[in-house]
Subunit: 239 residues, 2 copies
């Protein structure tokens, strides 16, 4: 199946074109790999991966977004990631026989592409470019995690909240004359878990930022960032 201009109708080629991982490949190779890929859809709230499960595939998000999280021994959801279109995950487990150490849940309707363990191995062996790209992506992710580490180590909660807001602004924000409008992908509770702080504390911080004119809360799912400069200062000048 050859891709026409509108990939939305070419399910095989769809995700592969979007994924930076395969961007270095020729059209011919793309089509070849596309044939190996399986597709699956999930509804909001569906579990894609559960802790302790054996992972057999690399998963690439084609449409929608998911959260990755764990439970603390006390049973609270904790420190999750958000993955959205073009992101991939599950690669850690494809080369070891470890079980998944986190859960992944759909935040909305989600379409994914899967490449199984053996197929990925084959691809990596025959296309070193893909391997290098994958290494590079993993490197980026590590660098990003190191950044997150830094902000985590900082006790200053204001800085963490500011960082999250700016992150969201760049990922989910849309520019408007008044500032950046963010459509929040997760609830306040979710954000608090993400930051490792109490729900109430997040509320208070957001209220404070609003009092200071840095943001404006449109409704529970929508936020306007009015002064990203000051937020940036807060995020950086921590400690």
């Amino acid at each position: 199946m050859k891709c026409s201009q509108d990939c939305r109708h070419c399910f095989r080629g769809l995700c592969i074109h979007r994924v930076p991982l395969f961007s270095s490949l020729s059209e011919e190779n793309l089509v070849q790999i596309a044939g190996l890929i399986q597709h699956k859809n999930y509804e909001k709230g569906d579990r894609l991966i559960s802790e302790g499960t054996t992972m057999e595939s690399l998963i690439i998000i084609n449409e929608g977004s998911v959260k990755a999280f764990r439970y603390t021994p006390a049973g609270r959801e904790q420190r999750s990631y958000l993955f959205s279109e073009g992101d991939f995950f599950g690669e850690q487990y494809l080369f070891s026989d470890l079980k998944a150490t986190y859960n992944v849940e759909a935040l909305e309707a989600v379409k994914i592409c899967m490449l199984t363990k053996t197929q990925l191995h084959k691809v990596l062996h025959t296309h070193p470019d893909v391997a290098i790209k994958l290494i590079s992506e993993l490197g980026k992710r590590i660098a990003q995690m190191e950044n997150t580490f830094q902000s985590l180590g900082i006790r200053n909660v204001d800085a963490r909240v500011a960082t999250l807001l700016l992150d969201f602004a760049s990922k989910y924000g849309e520019e408007s004359p008044e500032g950046t409008v963010i459509t929040l992908p997760i609830s306040r509770e979710g954000m608090a878990n993400f930051l490792g702080i109490a729900r109430e504390t997040l509320s208070r911080k957001l209220s404070k930022f609003e009092d200071e004119g840095l943001i404006r809360s449109i409704d529970l799912k929508t936020l306007l960032v009015r002064d990203s400069g000051t937020l940036g200062d807060l995020a950086g000048l921590s400690d």
Copy 2:
């Protein structure tokens, strides 16, 4: 130069044999790659990498240990890693043109092996096995970081200290009839930075653990872990 049984005297082959990264290679390939590797020695306190520098090589530690750290905007050392024999780092920067975002300093006399950007690319192209191994190692590192995330997100400082002690016990500890004797690679201040807590707090926690009979402080650089079971409970049953 072919490796004899005692690799210590065969500088070219030395690190390559130790590094899991290259373990899948044939002796022939090993020798070939060994020829590309450069060696360097550092004294305690020497800087291997400075923030903002361009990284041109993958660095593999052959002997000794180093710490990786950043400075907070306020100028405090923060949240470092410890790398020792067989560990490698710097790979994130070899595929992007990013500058180093952390500093690396020798904690003792250190011998390293370096493989430059272009040489590594060449190796990865010609030896897909090495690429896959590298991907797998990076995956492991990510998994490990995710674990660290979890313990970081936990407010319970006791748990974090306990985790660190157990980590050190397995990395630097030696069994003795009374328990595991740890020769600490870093100062109290270093450990506190590592954990993201105040130096004083660490002191107090260690004193508390000692009162409870879990550990015994031999001298400032030596620690005896007497009850790793209870420490494990503390580390796990946090929050």
